[in-house]
């Protein structure tokens, strides 16, 4: 049985299970399966699943870019933590509600006379969006550090990734305590829903997709864009070649290191939005006690892209499956204890890995590449 066969079988089993539950549910609405099915297809559940999927799906998309390029980024969890914290911090420092103007009004005070350069026309950006940018930049910086360590200094990617996670896990609450005197931050508010005119009038789908949190819309846009980037652009070809056979890429004159840096930065970028979506997007504050508010979502993201076979659509589907489970569990706690639902995504990944094996990893993932080595 070859690996594509196994993968098809795994996907087939999943789809078949879903189909059985659905049909059983439709036929017997009173049964447990019925409850599952009808709850899962409610508009509210779908919206909820989408919102819960945002941090996981975005991080998974970023992570799969890095891994496709040959850099296994186990530190995604750390990127989420840092961006979740920094985005709130930046928003809080800028103050609530006001706007950051670009370009800014500049005032010089020169020997008594004051000169003001007023661009006249300013682009006003709500602070919360500047906060998002801050979170993304922080995440990308940490990802860049990870990249330098893995690419330039040839560190073991798994160990370096764990280090990134541990550093962020310490640094975010550390900084929160320095600034706020406690491991969590102040409350800064969340993004308002985006309602896209006309489209949001479409029954059901319009409500779900076009009258939603900007984070959900960003995710829904990111999935096809990421897929396109990976499969239809030159850069995507280079990323894939860099993960499969970096030498092939090097010998045609594309700088492998640069491609890998870019891919790692992309993982930082998407994780940055993901982390921000978690803090600014959902609750408007960061909480850093224990495992922080990120609480393993970075690892679930890894699970999601593995389950999704490095395909952004697959990763999104897997994220949706996991978040859908969670959305279901908060609605249907009678069916099984919370913990059963909480551990399901992790069990699913183990089972999928067993069915499909590790042969799917890009050929050169985890290995460092040095140009000129023969």
């Amino acid at each position: 049985m070859d690996r594509t066969g196994l993968r098809r079988r795994a996907t087939g089993v999943t789809v078949a299970l879903l189909a059985i539950v659905s049909i059983w549910g439709i036929l017997q609405p009173e049964s447990a399966a019925g409850e599952l099915f009808w709850t899962a297809t409610e508009t509210g559940t779908i919206e909820s699943s989408l919102r819960l999927a945002v941090p996981i799906a975005l991080t998974a998309i970023g992570g799969l870019y890095a891994e496709k390029s040959g850099i296994i980024n186990i530190g995604l969890e750390g990127l989420l933590i840092i961006s979740a914290f920094v985005s709130v911090l930046v928003t809080d420092l800028l103050g609530p509600g006001q706007s950051t103007g670009i370009p800014p009004v500049v005032t010089f005070d020169l020997g008594g006379s004051t000169y003001t350069i007023d661009p006249g026309l300013q682009l006003l950006i709500p602070n919360i969006w500047v906060g998002l940018a801050g979170g993304v930049v922080a995440s990308m910086l940490l990802a860049f550090l990870f990249g330098v360590i893995c690419i330039r200094y040839q560190a073991d990617q798994i160990i370096a990734g764990l280090a990134v996670w541990l550093i962020a896990l310490g640094l975010a609450p550390f900084a929160a305590k320095v600034v706020y005197g406690q491991p969590s931050t102040a409350q800064v508010g969340t993004f308002d829903n985006w309602t896209i005119p006309v489209l949001s009038e479409i029954p059901v789908a319009g409500e779900i997709l076009f009258d939603a949190s900007p984070m959900v819309i960003i995710m829904l846009v990111s999935v096809p864009v990421a897929w396109y980037g990976l499969n239809r652009t030159s850069f995507g070809y280079w990323v894939r070649a860099s993960g499969e056979n970096p030498k092939a890429l090097d010998t045609v004159g594309v700088n492998v290191d640069r491609v890998r840096y870019a891919a790692v930065l992309i993982s930082g970028f998407f994780s940055g939005i993901g982390g921000t979506a978690l803090s600014l997007g959902a609750v408007g504050s960061f909480s850093g006690a224990g495992q922080t508010m990120v609480d393993g979502r970075g690892f679930i993201a890894i699970a999601a892209y593995l389950f999704g076979n490095y395909n952004p659509f697959g990763a999104f589907a897997a994220s949706y499956l996991f978040s859908g489970l969670q959305a279901l569990q908060i609605r249907l706690q009678g069916i099984a204890p919370t913990e059963v639902f909480l551990m399901l995504p992790y069990l699913v990944v183990v089972i999928v890995l067993v069915l499909v094996g590790r042969t799917r990893l890009p050929e050169a993932a985890g290995e460092h590449y040095e140009s000129g080595e023969d």
Partner: protein, 518 residues
Amino acid sequence: MSNTAVRLAGITKRFPGVVANDQVDLTVEKGSVHALLGENGAGKTTLMNVLYGLLQPEEGDVYVDGERRDFRSPRDAIDAGIGMIHQHFMLVDPMEIWANIVLGQEPRKYFGLTVDEQQAIQEVRDLSERYGFDVDPTETVEDVSVGVQQRVEILKALYRGADVLILDEPTAVLTPQEVEDLYGVLDELTAQGKTVIFITHKLGEAMHSADDITVLRDGESIATVPADETNQDELAEMMVGREVLLEVDVPEHEPGETTLAVDDVTVTDSDDIDRVKDVSFEVRGGEVFGIAGVDGNGQSELVEAITGLESPTSGRIVIEGEDVTGHSRRQRIEDGMAYIPEDRHERGLVMDFDLVENGLLGSQHSEPYSKSGRIEWDTVRGHAEDIIETYDVRPPNADADAHSLSGGNQQKFIVGREFERDPSVVVATHPTRGVDIGSTEFIHEELLDLRQRDRAVLLISSKLDEVRQLSDRLGVMYEGELVDIVDPEETSEEEIGLLMAGERPDGIETVRKTGGKP
């Protein structure tokens, strides 16, 4: 305008502890095929990597079309019209052929945001047709044969506008027929004005295909001679630095009883494909049974089944009358089977272990090296030192890590370790691959010595001359089948070549169609 395509002047490239190229000069004429001949480690690949911008020399200059060039990266070399086809293909297996060929220079559309797949496929198709290559651009690389992959590599270089093509050991992985095809390709290329530099360590190939031959030895260029003004003996001497006896002297020896029997063995891989199909043969004590074939025709799988690394799907393996099919690899070792693996870096040695520990490899559970699970390091060390002395491993230091040894010495150490077990059956796969001529001779002698001592030797090699000369009987494998067993003395190289390519030449006397019983 000069007629020189490429000129390298005084190239010196050092690696820590090694001078890979020492003041090497090379001049290549336009439109010619130029062979770069030398032993392994002579510095051929290093020199070409310098020309291709993968390595920067400490000294010396590179001239292309009479212009001095300073290549910082392959991109510079590509821009100067140089293309390189590496020995290990630089292809991305899961990607389509067209994508591999245009990689890094993809035609784009929509403001450069998108790879123009249709245009790329068309360009590749046109290029392929122009040079008469039979390549379908939409196939995936991992699905096509090695010969096609090589043509993809050549197309890749041509797509980048290469005028000078460097081919690194291009024939190593090809069948004799594919080699002939390659020569045809080279003719076509030179006919259209391209220049070819051809790295090889095979004298015959250099003589056959090249216009000029430059011989490298120990990082120095020895001489450049036109192919039609030299002969194999002269080249061999230049390569090795002394006169070489190319013929192996095989003494007469009467084989004894059947020691190893392979009975109807089939091996199926994880993709449900039969890699070895119903193979049967016997090897007698005091006999060398050779298996020839192009790499990838089931030899590796057959060897793994015989040595216990893989279980055959069906069939039996018998050693000295005992059915060992179900025996694990460890039991196989205890059954008296020695095995020289084809890849010494992966299998034969643990590169980070010193020779003491490497000498223990395979005997770690056997007396006297291990007593009730405890390793007797004194005995083990003595054993390693014995091997080093008997088999002339240099440097003679048991504490040296395996990776600090040269390829030849690594191989001698493996041979020593395996032969010291006093095995009844020896399976030797590509025992002289990547080994210098001196060590090769030594290993050949040791194999023949085992034959004299009535051991059964199974020799698998893709070097046709090696198996032909050493074997008493020679089986040929093609696509998993043992297509024939011939008497190597009675059968010509060409005829064996045809068998290796799956064709049955007329008039070959078959020793045994099946079963291989003598």
